[in-house]
């Protein structure tokens, strides 16, 4: 296999891996997120969360993949890039790592968001529980 063929095959394999990583994270967290969303009293927010969640996990994985540049800062020429197989391998590794790391940061953001929603929902529950008593 020539270096150019290796570049084409590895690039699309890594792209597929990034998408699989994103969807794996999405399917792993989907069911509990649906349960959390179902407990929220605001229907519009619930729907918004459920619609944005797949994009909020899969897109960071893709973002990590595309954020790695083969040309680098010094704008290497294509011929120079494909001449070095080890450079191509290291860039593929970098792309996988970047997509995993981006998913990790996205999950951190979703955790923070769920924590905020859980806190808001608790306050809403307290108000709902105390208001009938106040009305009496």
């Amino acid at each position: 296999m020539t270096n150019e063929q290796y570049l084409v095959v590895s690039y699309f394999c890594v792209a597929t891996t990034a998408v699989v990583v994103g969807f794996a994270a999405y399917f792993w967290l989907r069911a509990p997120l649906h349960e959390v969303a179902a407990a929220l009293p605001w229907k519009a927010l619930r729907e918004l969360l459920l619609r944005l969640f797949p994009a909020g996990i899969v897109l960071p994985a893709l973002l990590g993949f595309v954020s790695v540049s083969y040309r680098g800062c010094n704008r290497q020429e294509y011929e120079k890039i494909i001449a070095d197989r080890s450079y191509l391998v290291s860039k593929g590794q970098e792309q996988i790592s970047a997509s995993l790391t981006h998913v990790v940061w996205a999950v951190f953001v979703w955790c923070a968001l769920i924590a905020i929603l859980v806190a808001i929902e608790r306050r809403f529950d307290h108000r709902a529980a105390t208001s009938p008593a106040e009305n009496k």
Partner: protein, 118 residues
Amino acid sequence: MSPVLVVHLVVLIFAVALAILVNLFARRGLGELLSRTVSIPGGVTFFRRAFLLLLIFGVVGQAVTGNPDVKAGEHFMEYVWAVAGGLADSLQFIFLTLAIYLVLMTILVATLKPKDDK
């Protein structure tokens, strides 16, 4: 199998094993704390699953990078140093994940005030 690939595989296995070990240690305590704090069904499962995912993805992301400088026929200890060098990034990521996650859990507990043990 090339020595570089061997080092990468060993680093990957050790890194994932460490992540699973950390999750096993934290799992029970985290589950108890969350079940006392979060009343929404699915909330506990979400945070527990997210914790495992953060650890595994984080360490794998760190373990696949780098280019260990080992050649065939080198001494055993040179392989060990290469593995240790690769593991350093994964361990750093576990520490970072724990730090951020603990801060998040502390804020959650402080805000929601869990039921006490009495």
